[in-house]
């Protein structure tokens, strides 16, 4: 530790300190102004408890969807070689760069009640996504899937392909090789992907409110609750903000950065 400390130039230390303070200050402001005395009372309100459980359900479901879709997508981006691969990658990563509101709008015109797929969902199956928890899960999955895909892709490209070749050589079929060799070797990337997409889904606001709207029973997750409170009751907003910091921080501490940063 000591030697590492000495080998880093002072200028770098100064820059890093400013960066750290920049990230820290908002939380100090929040916790300083928050009405701590009413914390327990607000957090145990039924509407807030409902938001907490909605947030957990939405984040967990969307992490699961990312897991199912993200592994094959990341694998193809890493291993396949075809014309248009770069375009496919750009489209897959688009929701990461796109403002969530724009993503939500796009979802609305595709899967909304009047969207080109949504209208058939409605008329044929009687399924409407806006204002439902399923819609919120869909919006959250849309914005978090790229994080999962990136995590898988970057690990899959670094995978030692000789191990997969050895498996084929020893008589395992390609699909067996994928499940017995490739997937176990991608374990860390999969865990990182789950953590990243879960965290992204937990904080999702823009796409959710645009596509799934604000329905107190079905779609009002913690970020939406915070947004609503900000307009009507700033003290409540602060408490919910503090609550979100606590949830996020405890997730990060539990993971100890193990999967997010691979040292």
């Amino acid at each position: 530790m000591e030697t590492q400390h000495n080998s880093v130039p002072k200028t770098i230390w100064a820059g890093a300190s400013i960066g750290f303070i920049f990230l820290l200050v908002p939380f100090v402001g929040l916790s300083q102004r928050a009405p701590w005395s009413s914390f327990v009372q607000i957090v145990t309100e039924e509407t807030v408890l409902r938001s907490i459980s909605l947030s957990m359900i939405v984040a967990t479901c969307s992490a699961f969807i990312c897991l199912i879709l993200g592994i094959p997508l990341g694998w193809i981006l890493a291993k396949a070689d075809f014309r248009g691969l770069k375009l496919v990658r750009a489209i897959v990563l688009l929701p990461m760069v796109l403002p969530p509101v724009a993503g939500g709008t796009a979802l609305l015109f595709a899967l909304g009640r009047k969207g080109f797929i949504g209208e058939h969902l409605d008329s044929w199956f009687g399924v409407t996504l806006p204002f439902t928890t399923a819609g919120a899960v869909l919006a959250a999955s849309f914005v978090s899937l790229p994080f999962f895909v990136l995590s898988i892709e970057s690990s899959a490209t670094q995978l030692d392909s000789r191990l997969e070749e050895a498996s084929l050589n020893l008589g395992a079929s390609p699909i067996r090789t994928f499940f017995t060799i490739s997937l176990p070797l991608l374990r860390n990337a999969i865990m990182a992907g789950i953590a990243l997409s879960w965290a992204r889904a937990l904080g999702e606001f823009g796409a959710t409110i645009t596509f799934a709207g604000d329905n107190p029973d079905q779609t009002r997750t913690l970020p939406l609750q915070l947004f609503v409170a900000l307009e009507t009751n700033p003290e409540r907003a602060m408490i919910i903000g503090v609550l979100m910091v606590m949830i996020s921080l405890s997730v990060l501490v539990t993971l100890r950065g193990n999967w997010l940063v691979q040292k």
């Binding site: 000789r162 070749e165 050895a166 084929l168 050589n169 020893l170 008589g171």
Partner: protein
Amino acid sequence: MTQIFLSGTTKLGVEEFDYSFETNSSKRIAVVGPNGSGKTTLLRLIAGHERLRSGLLKINGNVYDEPTSGNFTPPHQRKLTLQHQDGSIFPHLTVEDNVAFPYRSKKKSKRKARALAHKTLEAFDLLQIKDKYPNHLSGGQIARVSLARSLTKQPRLLMLDEPTAALDVASVRQVHQTLESLKTSLLLVSHDPIEVLKLSDTIIALEGNKIIQFGTLKSVTSKPATQWLSKFFDLNLVSGTASGLEFKTGCGEIFHLPQNYSGNVEVSFPSSAISLHLSPPSGSFRNKWKATVTSLDKQDKLVRIKLVGAFDCYATITVPTFNELEIALGNTIWASIKATELNVLQKPNPAKT
């Protein structure tokens, strides 16, 4: 016995490869050649990790790759194993599960596969470490696990890409001993001339992604087609028994060794270390013997001479020396070599049964 027929070309990036050979009666084939001459690609082609652009690959009568007819047998359906230099042991599986992997691939249950692997683990002396993960193993242990795993597949042909390149002397001995006792046909890429001399009966020599020479070990070593090959095989190997500073060849000739040894040993020395004389050389500690010249191969400035006497060996001398000695085919001359030029390889003790 494995019959390989390969005649075809392929292209990787900008590099083009052209291979053509057929083996019928050889059991142990060594692939030799300078770095980047297409040795590994040849093995990968036979394993099915690369595909032919044109031509035909047939093993034991089965067509494995024929672009014109579209026939291609994928790697996992070929009855052969390719083992990479580093062993490619699966890091997330124990030694036992690595060795049992080929059984698992045949859809055997985990228990059944482990039971079947038991015998192999025992034969390779891996039972004590069967529950260890690869990152806790030494290089020699990894080599043993890898070889054991390759053999549990019971391949008709075992292909090894530089199996001993990264191993210490003791492990090299162990691997050689195992390979020598194997019944499976071998196709081996090697950078070690001693390994090639010990383990192979047939040579495929590559240069510039082409087969430059193909033939029995004897024919290639006695008439190497290129300078690289003659340099590579510029090595004599004599086996016998040692006691102290004395080494007795199979035919009873006695050599003096640079150090004390005992038991079965192999002595190697470069052909250029041999001096030739018309009459018995004087000097007390020189190793000398009488031999007949059975072949002469004049190259640019050097002459390669095959000597047959108590043992067969090659001597390389310069053209002026050659002219001075007036050596001709069938002549009997004296050869000598300094003890310090001898490189002694202790042979492993006879295998425990």
